[in-house]
C-alpha cells in the first residue's frame, strides 16, 4: 500500500508545486482557462436544459427522448474513454520517461500496476468528467432528480470510469506483447481517427434534419417506440443509463441489479488486467524499447520537394524540406489529413442537400445570404485546420529548436517558412471549398468573385495568426502532436481567428445586404457591384494587420529567449 502511495506521489507533488509557484502571467492564463471552462459549462448546461425542457413538452415521449439522449451521451463517453485509455496506457505503462527509474526500484509489480492504472484512469477521464458535470446537472434540474440522483451519480461515475480504463490497459498489454509500442500508438491513432470519420459520415448521411419534417414524423414515432429499450444491453453505458433513468424518469427497473453489474465488472476487470500484466508486461516493455527503422531515401520525393520549394530562398527551402519530410514520416501528423478530407466532404454535401427551393424567401436572395454565411463558415473550417497544422508548426521543432537558435539565421526566416508552407495548402483548400459550395448554390457571379477574394485574404490572416500565436506560446515539450492545440495558446489563437473572421464579415455585411436587397427588389437601393470596393479595401487592410501583428508578436516571443 505504501509503495502505491509513493508511486503516485510524483504527479501529485508536481501538480501541487505547479499550483503553488505561479507567476502572475501564469495565474492570468489559469484564470482565462477557468473562464473558458466556466463559459463552456454554462453553455452546455443552458443548451441541454432547453433541449430537455423541450422534450418534456412532447406528450408521452419526453422521458423516452431524454432517455435515448442519455444513452447516446453515455455511449459516446464510453467509447471516448476506451480510446483515450488505450492511448494513455501505452504512454504510462510502456513509453513514459520515468519507467527506467521506477522499474529498477525494489517495488512489488502489483503496486506498480495499480499506480499506473490509477494514473491512466485519471489522465484519460478528467476531461470526460469535466464535460459530464453540466450534462448531469441539466438532467437533474429538468427532471427534478434531487439529492438521490446526485448520490447515484457519485456512486455510478467512478465505476463507469474504471471499466474502460481497466479494459484499455488490458488490451494495450496484449497489443504491446504482439506489436512494437511505437507503431501501436500510430496505429491506434489512425484507427481512432478512422472510426471517428466513419461515425461522422454515418451520422451526417443519415440526414437527421429530415426528422423535423412532418411527413417523416410518423416513422420517427415508431422509431422512438421501438427504442424504448436500450439497443446495447451489454454495455456499461446502458447499465448506468438504466440506473439514472430509474431515478429520473421512474423507469420500472431494478437499479440495484444494474449497480451490482457495474460494480462486479469494475472489480473484475482491473483484477483480470493485473493478471495479464503480470504475465506479459516484462516482455512487452522490453519490446517497446527496441526500435529499428528501415532506410529512408527516395530520389522521387527529393525531386518533388525540390520542385515545390525551389522559388524560395535557401534557408526557407531547407526548413520547408525538413518540415515536409518530417510530416510525411510521422503518422500522427499526416493521418490528420483524413479528418480534413471528411470535413470537406460533409461540408460540401451540406450545401448539396440544403432545401433552399422550399423556403418562402425568393431563392436567389436566399442563395446570396447562404453564400455570404458560407464565407464565414469556410473561414471557421480554415481556422480549425490552421489550429491543427499552422498553430503547432513552431512547437513541432520540439527539443531540437536549439539547432535553429544556434544557426546563423534570423528567426523570422523560420516563421515565414512556416507561414508559406501552411498558407499554400490552406489557400487551395479555402478557394476550392468556396468555389464548389457556391457552384452548388448557383450564386450570382458578383457573389462568387467576392467570396473567392474574401477567402483569399482571410487565409493569409488565419495562417499568420496560427503561426504567430503558435510562436508566441510554443510548446516544445509534448508527447503527442495532437496535444499542442489544446494549450492556452491554442485558445488564444482560436479567439483571434474568430475575431478576425467576424471583423471581415462585418466589414462586408452592409454592401452585401444592399446588393441582396437590390436583387430582391430591383431599383430599391440603386447599389451596383462598385459598393463592394471600399469594403474589400477594408478587408485587405485588416488582413495586412492580421498578418503583420501576429508574426511580429510571435517573433518577439521567440527572440525573448525564455529562460
Amino acid at each position: 500500500m505504501s509503495a502505491l502511495v509513493v508511486l503516485l506521489s510524483p504527479p501529485v507533488l508536481s501538480w501541487k508545486n505547479d499550483l503553488r509557484t505561479g507567476s502572475p502571467a501564469r495565474w492570468l492564463r489559469r484564470l482565462v482557462l477557468l473562464g473558458l471552462g466556466a463559459a463552456f459549462w454554462i453553455g452546455t448546461y443552458w443548451t441541454l436544459k432547453r433541449v430537455l425542457a423541450y422534450f418534456q413538452t412532447v406528450y408521452e415521449l419526453g422521458p423516452a427522448l431524454a432517455y435515448q439522449l442519455l444513452l447516446i451521451i453515455l455511449l459516446t463517453f464510453l467509447s471516448m474513454l476506451l480510446f483515450s485509455n488505450l492511448i494513455t496506457s501505452l504512454s504510462t505503462f510502456f513509453l513514459a520517461r520515468d519507467l527506467d527509474l521506477v522499474r529498477s526500484a525494489p517495488i512489488p509489480p502489483s503496486s506498480f500496476f495499480y499506480a499506473r492504472l490509477i494514473t491512466t484512469t485519471v489522465n484519460s477521464s478528467w476531461m470526460v468528467l469535466f464535460f459530464s458535470f453540466p450534462i448531469f446537472a441539466a438532467y437533474g434540474a429538468v427532471f427534478r432528480g434531487g439529492g438521490l440522483f446526485y448520490l447515484w451519480t457519485l456512486l455510478v461515475l467512478p465505476l463507469f470510469l474504471i471499466i474502460p480504463a481497466a479494459l484499455g490497459v488490458l488490451i494495450t498489454h496484449l497489443l504491446v506483447y504482439w506489436l512494437p509500442a511505437r507503431r501501436i500508438r500510430d496505429i491506434l491513432f489512425f484507427i481512432g481517427l478512422f472510426a471517428f470519420i466513419v461515425l461522422y459520415f454515418l451520422f451526417r448521411f443519415s440526414q437527421p434534419e429530415r426528422l423535423v419534417e412532418p411527413e417523416t414524423f410518423g416513422h420517427f414515432l415508431e422509431f422512438l417506440t421501438a427504442m424504448e429499450t436500450p439497443s446495447s444491453p451489454f454495455l456499461p453505458s446502458s447499465w448506468s443509463a438504466e440506473i439514472f433513468a430509474s431515478v429520473l424518469f421512474a423507469r420500472p427497473v431494478n437499479r440495484w441489479f444494474f449497480f451490482a453489474l457495474l460494480s462486479s465488472y469494475a472489480l473484475f476487470l482491473p483484477l483480470a488486467a493485473s493478471w495479464v500484466s503480470a504475465a506479459v508486461y516484462i516482455s512487452g516493455w522490453s519490446k517497446a524499447q527496441e526500435a529499428r527503422q528501415g532506410r529512408h531515401h527516395s530520389d522521387l520525393l527529393d525531386r518533388i520537394i525540390h520542385w515545390l520549394t525551389h522559388p524560395f530562398p535557401q534557408i526557407t527551402k531547407a526548413i520547408m524540406t525538413k518540415d515536409i519530410k518530417s510530416f510525411l514520416r510521422d503518422a500522427t501528423q499526416w493521418s490528420q489529413l483524413f479528418l480534413l478530407l471528411a470535413l470537406v466532404a460533409v461540408y460540401l454535401y451540406n450545401f448539396k442537400v440544403l432545401p433552399l427551393d422550399r423556403s418562402p424567401i425568393p431563392s436567389a436572395t436566399l442563395r446570396t445570404v447562404v453564400s455570404f454565411t458560407n464565407v464565414a463558415l469556410a473561414g471557421f473550417v480554415l481556422s480549425a485546420v490552421a489550429m491543427r497544422f499552422a498553430f503547432p508548426a513552431v512547437s513541432l521543432e520540439g527539443r531540437a529548436f536549439w539547432i535553429l537558435q544556434t544557426s546563423p539565421i534570423a528567426l523570422k526566416s523560420l516563421l515565414w517558412s512556416k507561414f508559406w508552407l501552411n498558407l499554400i495548402p490552406l489557400l487551395v483548400l479555402g478557394e476550392l471549398l468556396v468555389f464548389f459550395s457556391n457552384t452548388l448554390l448557383r450564386v450570382p457571379s458578383w457573389m462568387m468573385t467576392l467570396s473567392l477574394i474574401t477567402v483569399f485574404f482571410m487565409t493569409f490572416g488565419i495562417t499568420a495568426i496560427g503561426v504567430g500565436v503558435g510562436a508566441l506560446y510554443p510548446k516544445f515539450h509534448y508527447d503527442h502532436v495532437a496535444e499542442i492545440p489544446t494549450s492556452f495558446g491554442g485558445a488564444i489563437c482560436m479567439i483571434f481567428s474568430v475575431a478576425f473572421i467576424g471583423a471581415t464579415v462585418m466589414i462586408e455585411a452592409w454592401p452585401v445586404y444592399l446588393l441582396a436587397m437590390e436583387g430582391l427588389n430591383p431599383g430599391s437601393t440603386s447599389a451596383g457591384s462598385w459598393v463592394l470596393a471600399p469594403s474589400l479595401a477594408g478587408v485587405a487592410l485588416l488582413t495586412i494587420l492580421a498578418v503583420v501583428v501576429p508574426i511580429k508578436l510571435g517573433l518577439s516571443g521567440l527572440e525573448e529567449m525564455p529562460d
Binding site: 529512408h296 535557401q314 527551402k317 526548413i319 525538413k322 531540437a400 544556434t406 546563423p408 534570423a410 529567449m561
Partner: protein, 244 residues
C-alpha cells in the same frame, strides 16, 4: 577570438553567472571547468545566443552575440550537452539541413557530408532515420553537423558524456588537430582528466564566478599545490563549497 566582458545572467534573483571576464586566443583549446550547477551551461547558452545575458557582453570572432547573432553563429560550431535532433530525418538529411542553414553551396556541402560521415563512422547509417541511432551515434552526428561549415570556433558542452574510450580518443585527437589548424576550441567539462590532457589553458567557474584562469602551472600556483595535478588544484580552488 572569444571574449566575455562582465557577463552576467540572472534567473530571477539567482545569479547563475556573475561578472564573467574571459579572453581566448585563436587556435587555443580552452577548458571550462566547474562543479555541477556552477554556471558552465548557462555561460555557453548565452555565448550561443540561446539565452539573453542580463548584463555584459559576449563576442565571438569580434561579433557581439546579441547585436550580430547571425555573423557570430556563422563562424561557430556548437555541440550541446543533450543534443535533441529531428528524429524523422535521416542522418544525411539532417546534415544537409544544417548545411543549408549555413548557406553552404551544394557541391561543398555534399563533399563535407561524405567526409564527416566517413570520419565519424556513420556512412553506413546515412539513410537511416535518426530515431534509430544510438546515443553515441547521435553525438557523432551532432559533432559532424557542428563541423560542417568549418567553423573558426567550436563550443562543446560536456563532450565525453556517453562516449566509449575509442570515441573519446577520437574526439581528443580531433580537438588537437582542429586547434593546430587555427580553430578555437571552447570545451566545457567536469572531467578534469580531459582538460588536463588537451587544454592549453583552463578556467574554473564556481557558483557563477570565474575563480581561476590560466595555464596548468598557473593554476597549481594559485591553488598552492605542488603535486596531484589539476584534480587537486580544482578541489583546492573549489573547496569552500561542495557541488549541489
Amino acid at each position: 577570438m572569444i571574449q566575455l566582458e562582465n557577463l552576467s545572467k540572472y534567473y530571477g534573483t539567482l545569479a547563475a553567472v556573475e561578472s564573467l571576464n574571459l579572453e581566448i586566443q585563436p587556435g587555443e583549446i580552452f577548458g571550462f571547468l566547474g562543479p555541477n550547477g556552477a554556471g558552465k551551461t548557462t555561460t555557453i547558452r548565452v555565448m550561443m545566443g540561446i539565452l539573453k545575458p542580463s548584463s555584459g557582453r559576449a563576442t565571438l570572432g569580434g561579433y557581439d552575440v546579441v547585436r550580430e547573432p547571425e555573423k557570430a553563429k556563422a563562424i561557430t560550431g556548437f555541440v550541446p550537452d543533450r543534443a535533441f535532433i529531428y528524429e524523422k530525418l535521416s542522418g544525411r538529411e539532417f546534415l544537409k539541413f544544417v548545411g543549408s542553414l549555413h548557406r553552404m553551396d551544394s557541391p561543398r556541402l555534399e563533399r563535407r557530408i561524405a567526409h564527416l560521415l566517413e570520419h565519424f563512422e556513420l556512412w553506413e547509417w546515412r539513410d537511416e532515420l535518426v530515431e534509430g541511432y544510438s546515443h553515441g551515434m547521435k553525438q557523432r552526428l551532432v559533432l559532424s553537423a557542428s563541423l560542417l561549415h568549418e567553423p573558426r570556433i567550436l563550443i562543446i558542452d560536456e563532450p565525453m558524456v556517453g562516449i566509449d574510450p575509442r570515441g573519446a580518443k577520437m574526439l581528443k585527437d580531433l580537438f588537437l588537430s582542429l586547434a593546430k589548424s587555427g580553430t578555437t576550441v571552447f570545451l566545457s567539462t567536469h572531467s578534469v582528466g580531459v582538460a588536463e590532457e588537451i587544454c592549453q589553458r583552463v578556467g574554473i567557474i564556481h557558483r557563477g564566478r570565474l575563480i581561476a584562469s590560466g595555464s596548468m602551472a598557473e593554476l597549481y600556483r594559485m591553488a598552492r599545490i605542488e603535486e596531484g595535478g589539476l584534480e587537486s588544484a580544482f578541489l583546492e580552488l573549489t573547496r569552500d563549497g561542495t557541488s549541489p
